[in-house]
Symmetry: C2
Subunit: 459 residues, 2 copies
């Protein structure tokens, strides 16, 4: 038995480790075009910020540890073709360009995702980075130490995390987001609050520009010196981070005839099987099932990659495991602000043709007399007809993520607002108000939905 894994960041590395535990004998080999294997890409902004000094802290398992446990690791080896008929792969050693064929019994594709590079003129200057690999982490941190002004392009999760990192290192930062709001994945009535709250704490350390986009860089032999926006602003900078999103690395799979889903990522079933026998896919290159709607969705996140990698390995080793899917749960921190969400936003629900009822409350995260009580703004979204909870978004200096994890569990279980409102959450003054904001919101939303259905009955 020989298991070949393509890619080794999160899903690939997890798959290898799990396969090793489940497979007494047999060969396991990881091919990756990367220079590192098994690392926490999500931790890069926190390394740059200075929470720890050695980039090696980001490495979960070293190639040596893999080898010691009987997993072969081939760094800088690009798999350029899969030949499903002969169960072979074509591999290219990126150091000496030698190509060779290898065989597999089971193949796990974990090729991940790559940063999207928007069409900006002169994006080849030095000190323009994306945030994805260990080299990015090292290079950005080094250049940041010589930088006075940074430009971040993109106001999503990574953009906000990089903003925190730069601000904490006293680099004046301009964050530019093309859409009208930061975190444009959220509903607008929530995302508007993020900019508002960040502007309250900016203390002349950063600026947030929305509804504008960088169209051209200027620079010299030493690197980038400024960025020009569509609205005509010229922003001096000596470091630029581009983080406008990622796309799944599916070329290899597509070329092999593996079915690509409507999300643009590799289509798989709950066992992580692709359309071709003995080939599995997991992590950021594959889609997942959205538990709420039972339809495919693409959710490139480290936690999901770990779970799907584990599932792929169990099945590739001859076991049986199913990964039910995702709830779109996510969280990020930017300075004192936590932004968390799970499930469907109202605008996402509309795309699924679900009529929604929603509520927004702004409440303290603990009893108001506690000196560290902070506001959180919480939105709950439910199916107007059935009352089933669809999702929630939470923004605030307070324990926003706590509420969202509670809510995710309700989505997993398919609870209605009425059922959820009966939840018995922990209460003590340092942890929540007597009635938690979540239950407060649920009470109001229940009233809305029941009022609605009463109206319907009357007509």
């Amino acid at each position: 038995m020989k298991i070949v894994i393509i890619g080794g960041v999160a899903a690939g590395a997890k798959a290898a480790a799990k396969a090793r535990r489940n497979l007494r004998d047999g060969e396991i080999i990881i091919y990756t075009d990367d220079t590192h294997v098994s690392y926490s890409a999500c931790g890069i902004p926190y390394f740059i910020e200075g929470n720890f000094d050695d980039y090696k802290t980001l490495l979960v398992r070293s190639p040596e540890e893999f080898e010691a446990s009987g997993i072969k690791v081939r760094l800088r080896h690009k798999v350029s073709k899969i030949l499903p008929e002969s169960k072979q792969i074509l591999v290219q050693n990126l150091d000496n360009q030698n190509a060779f064929l290898d065989t597999y019994d089971k193949l796990i594709i974990a090729t991940g995702a790559s940063p999207v590079i928007p069409p900006i003129k002169n994006n080849c200057f030095k000190h323009i980075y994306t945030v994805r690999k260990i080299e990015d982490a090292i290079n950005i941190k080094k250049q940041m130490q010589n930088s006075k002004r940074a430009v971040i392009i993109g106001g999503g999760y990574i953009g906000l995390e990089m903003l925190e990192a730069f601000v904490k290192n006293n680099v004046y930062t301009t964050l530019i987001e093309r859409s009208e709001y930061l975190m444009p994945g959220l509903d607008e009535d929530m995302s508007i609050y993020i900019k508002e709250q960040l502007n309250l704490i900016k203390e002349n350390k950063f600026e947030i520009v929305t509804s504008d986009a960088v169209i051209e860089f200027c620079g010299n032999v030493d690197g980038v010196t400024s960025a020009e926006t569509a609205n005509g602003r010229i922003i001096d900078c000596d470091i630029v981070i581009i983080c406008v999103g990622v796309r799944p690395n599916v070329e290899l799979a597509r070329d092999a005839g593996i079915k690509i889903g409507e999300t643009g990522a590799i289509e798989i079933n709950k066992r992580m099987e692709t359309s071709i026998p003995d080939i599995y896919a997991c992590g950021d290159c594959s889609e997942e099932n959205l538990i709420i709607t039972n339809t495919p969705v693409w959710m490139p996140l480290g936690s999901v990659a770990n779970k799907s990698g584990r599932c792929a390995a169990i099945n590739a080793c001859g076991g049986f495991d199913e990964f039910e899917g995702v709830l779109l749960s996510a969280v990020t921190r930017c300075l004192k602000l936590t932004v968390a969400m799970t499930g469907l936003t109202e605008k996402a629900a509309q795309k699924y043709n679900i009529k929604t009822a929603s509520v927004i409350v702004t409440k303290f995260d603990k009893v108001g007399y506690m000196p560290d009580a902070k506001n959180i703004r919480l939105k709950l979204v439910a199916d107007k007809k059935t009352g089933k909870l669809l999702g929630g978004q939470s923004i605030g200096a307070g324990d926003s993520d706590k509420r969202i994890n509670t809510l995710a569990t309700a989505l997993l279980a398919g609870l209605t607002v009425k059922e959820f409102e009966q939840n018995d959450l922990t209460y003590a003054p340092p942890f929540s108000p007597t009635i938690d904001p979540l239950l407060n919101a649920a009470q109001i939303l229940k009233g809305k939905i029941e009022g609605e259905s009463q109206k319907t009955e009357l007509t």
Copy 2:
């Protein structure tokens, strides 16, 4: 329509406010033998600790605010008899001892609970307190400012909260718990960890004594001077807090012929109706339904009191509301340690004749490279036969309560370990490890249960 409410701390005050909103016309009156109405008893330890200086901060609504909204409040008026046949109550004015009769259409009993006073010799010395009422808060805080050494009797929620309050005010404190462990409501394999962790941070500011009990106080005209224990220790002190538990105030209800449940609290249905028509009970004096087992339980907590008070008011006003019950969720903080739980412990499950499977994990609450990562020790308990989750306990410096609220939602929904393990919890390095301790524990527990059921199938 005249609604009379007996008691006005949490359930009674909430019931009055809710009744006022639901009842356009009609009279609402609160009788209480207390000197204050509508206050946060749970906040008393935090007032004493010094999180805020004015005890009035603990008051949710003043008598004047109630009166302004059309709710009559009679402080220091003890209801000494209920006459259900004539729908009357006998009231005694505690200031002038005058007695009078009043009538009701609907009666809401919210008489709360009282501290248990263990049989300790000479417990009449000054500066021996329980923690329940506003006067207690004021008196303890005042005496604490003149105190050097405190004795706390009881190592439950309030004992631990008072320990924090005294230690933060530089009063050397000895906490004495009769049983072998602090928080004896938890499973022993968890509660043992609390003392262990507290001893790591005690820095000669407090001492924890278990398996011992105070049997006698010594003192003089100025107040208590020492406490002697069963094991012969004599502990000097100038303030004593007794917090060994509370018992429901049911005498009035029992005397009126209202059925008292097997828990010792007033028996009610989900609409908060007692065994006598037009009489409701809510808050600490009544039992609740335990959602997990669908059996009565007594859970004297502020959050529950608020919900049951609200429910009683809706029904008393002619509406329809059901309070499904509780999950036994609770949380407390002692210095850097958070202790939280929900659902059944293993020992509680055994009392219900449920065979359990359980797991304990000790994991970081966020990714280990984050500088503020802290261990949490987490226990999950499930039904060995069905795999249904029964409860969890969490102790640690980390975000223990977050995990317990997530779990409470799973209990509310009746999820099995296998279903729960598929949960999609938020992940980012400052908030959780890639695989949250909860899911990690669920994975292991699932394996245990499935291994068990496989063994059963084989035999």
